[in-house]
């Protein structure tokens, strides 16, 4: 659906994006992750034809350039701040871009904005503005929605609601490209992850594959924890009688336990948090760059 090939963006004399290549398929929720200044917003702006770039960006085989946005007809976006005119009401802000009044009303109801939608936007709180900004991005049955920090200013209830809406839209074939600093929140919705650092894409992977390949350690619990501790003295013991073993040692550990009449009650992969994994990946990238 969206294809980005060898895209480089230069602002002033600085190369902000360096040969970025990735694609987004229909119905996927892609998390764009990276430290501050990594180039997340610039990639989003390039897709929206807001900055000049080298390379090629195609949406449904239609080319996007800085001066041709025809392919963006079915693209919704919330970039940096919600784009809201304070002297207009919420309804008026939405109707500026809406081509389908029924869809617009559906979005107002979906986002729970009925109570205040006819008030001037200057009276809105940060969270209300953010919801309206997301509402604008979801207008006109988009095929792709780009959200830059969508959870900014939202309370827990609204965050859960937005997460639910994103999943619903994705199930109906809409794709999302989302950047967020709240990784735990992003982890709950994204189906694919793109990791960017210093303008370079360093990882693109489906979340399922990403989680699978990162279980380097397993936690085990047996029916005789004390005896197990004596047998497996080289392994780290957790506070609740569990032992942490390396993935490559699992077969060997199972043999030892079987030979000593100990039964295995639990064998659970020890998942590193997304934050920890990303920090490690970024560190490895830095080491590679300095090598």
């Amino acid at each position: 659906m969206l294809e980005i090939k060898q895209v480089s963006t230069i602002i002033g004399k600085k190369k902000i994006i360096n040969n970025a290549t990735f694609s987004i398929t229909s119905g996927s929720i892609v998390g764009l992750i990276g430290p501050n200044g990594a180039g997340k917003t610039t990639i989003m702006k390039s897709i929206l034809g807001l900055t000049k770039f080298n390379g090629e960006i195609n949406l449904n085989n239609q080319k996007i350039t800085e001066n041709d946005h025809h392919a963006l007809e079915k693209v919704g976006a919330l970039i940096e701040h919600p784009a809201i005119y304070p002297f207009l009401t919420g309804t008026q802000n939405l109707s500026l871009y809406s081509t389908d009044p029924i869809d617009m009303q559906h979005i107002i109801t979906l986002l729970g904005m009925n109570k205040y939608i006819d008030q001037k936007a200057k009276e809105y709180s940060l969270g209300m503005k953010q919801k309206l900004g997301i509402g604008i991005a979801l207008l006109n049955h988009p095929q792709l929605v780009i959200l830059d920090e969508p959870m900014n200013g939202l309370d827990i209830e609204a965050t859960i609601l937005i997460r639910k809406i994103i999943k619903e839209y994705a199930q109906n074939g809409c794709s999302f490209l989302i950047s967020s600093h709240i990784l735990s929140e992003l982890q709950k919705v994204m189906t694919e992850m793109i990791l960017i650092n210093n303008g370079k894409i360093i990882l693109t992977k489906p979340m399922s594959a990403f989680l699978k390949t990162n279980y380097d350690y397993y936690v085990i619990l047996t029916d005789q924890p004390d005896k197990t501790k004596i047998l497996l003295t080289n392994y780290q013991i957790t506070s609740n009688d569990r032992l942490i073993v390396k993935r490559q040692d699992i077969k060997n550990v199972q043999k030892i336990l079987f030979n000593n009449g100990i039964n295995l009650l639990e064998l659970v992969p020890q998942r590193p948090t997304l934050e920890r994994t990303i920090v490690n990946l970024l560190k490895n990238q830095e080491v590679k760059n300095h090598a």
Binding site: I11, K45, L48, G49, L50, T51, N67, D68, H69, H70, L72, V75, A77, I79, E80, H81, P82, A83, I84, Y85, P86, F87, L88, Q92, L96, Y97, I136
Partner: protein, 255 residues
Amino acid sequence: MKQSIKNEFFKITHQKITWIAPILILCLMMLSRAFIGNSEQRLLIMATYNSGEWILLALIIVCSTVLSMEYQYHTILLTIYKAPNRFQVFASKLLVISIYNLFLHFLAIIFTLLLQLTPLKAHVSWLIINKYSQSLVINMLNTTLIDLVASTLIVSLIFLSSSLIKSNSIVITINLAIVFMGQTASSQLLNTNAHLLNLVKWNPLNMYNLTAQYYNHAVYHDTSHLTNIELLLGTLIYTAIFLILGYYLFRKKKF
């Protein structure tokens, strides 16, 4: 393009200043009608009670707001990506401001017709032969047309300055200074560079004499050193230059 123009109309018509400006213009025209002597009435009617200056003031505020609000409210990114290209954003804003300019000039004529009916000063016949061997009403219509061209020059300058500067207040200040001090500055420039008169008289600030020279040729020709036609041509050329330059900067601008 149709959608961009529709959106620009929607935005401009929902801003208070758009509607306050004509009321202010009417008030200031009423003051001119009330406090300037009977002997000057023909000149005042021809100049639609000095509405040109007040229209420029209104245009500076409204026009610079139309552009800079997009930066202020962070709506510029959405406005640009929703349009097929940047030219359509620039052109639709320019078109809407030009129509607003036309609307203010049309209102100025209506206000002049109404003010003429008030008993504050002596009534002057519309058909009386006045300047350029034309009736007063034709003089007024021609002055309005000339002023429409002159005010488009300031619109082009606002578009140029707004493409350079994001701050609304700075854009307003610069353009107010140009409009209300430009004629004096140009006059000083011409006086101090008398030996370069043939060159310096084509400076853009001198073009702001166009309307005033049309309705008061005797006084302003000595200031501008250009004929009416030369001033008109100069105004049109500078308007085109400022608009092309403004669009070029807008197209290259990073948001």
